[in-house]
Symmetry: C2
Subunit: 140 residues, 2 copies
Amino acid sequence: MTDRMQGRNAAYVIEALMQSVRPLSAYDIIAAVRPRVELAPTTVYRALRQLISDGKAHRIESLNAFVACQHGHGVEPVHRHGDGLGFVICDRCGSVDEFIDPVIGERVAATLVERGFSASAVTLEVRGVCATCSDKAVAR
Amino acid sequence: MTDRMQGRNAAYVIEALMQSVRPLSAYDIIAAVRPRVELAPTTVYRALRQLISDGKAHRIESLNAFVACQHGHGVEPVHRHGDGLGFVICDRCGSVDEFIDPVIGERVAATLVERGFSASAVTLEVRGVCATCSDKAVAR
DNA sequence: TGCTCGAATGTTATGTTATAACATACAAAG
DNA sequence: CTTTGTATGTTATAACATAACATTCGAGCA
């Protein structure tokens, strides 16, 4: 009961996410782990819920897809929504970049305090085109 | 060709959104306008795309649902993602509150400039429990 | 008038994302 | 060796979203 046990399905899922540059939908994950193993949607969503609550994966709301957390693989705490965690998502190449801006975290927190609102999750996502893809477009 | 023409379907849809306290999914909207009129999903999504690009409605990504814009019904410009526009969503009563924080807008913009990232949309959503619902829980 | 063009709309089918509901396995604690 | 809780498996279906193509309708104009 070390709080580290999370079953082998979660292991398959996080592995698939870590090996992918792009976010994966639940069904992408099913395809990615096949034919090594055949997972049902339910199973994948269960594993994802677990991984997300452990801070090892994030859901990208605007894509209905999932990514492995890019940080916190050492001693430092993993990134959590609510600390000014955000994602920059390129619609051209699909890359996702995680960032933290404490000032944003503070401003959001202030807004919530002002309202007496108790937050369970904060989503910050930017969609657009990354520098690399812009350059490519210019280069042609 | 005044750029204000947008067809009667959009009118039905925005009306349904404005009359609702809570966000509505596309299928909720279909139910809301029935039996006055019977709209197909395609039709509703088309109208929503239009309304959103006009700034008259917003998509709540974390709910896969839609709300009417709460501001900008006078001369002032409508709210747009990217100016620090955000939503505070109560998971208990379903209420959605729109807010603007220019500081957040600036910080996000700065992050994007730093990366040479060109944004097309910014999503900021907070899920949790509003003051009213918290009070109720305590009061019982 | 009647042509033509584009925008809006309608229709059908299907693709994609997510969960409900219930059955089984399996390990640790007692 | 039984109880209990967590993980897992299975089937079905709910909920969200778009593709592809047909039709209607109004504005501008020959």
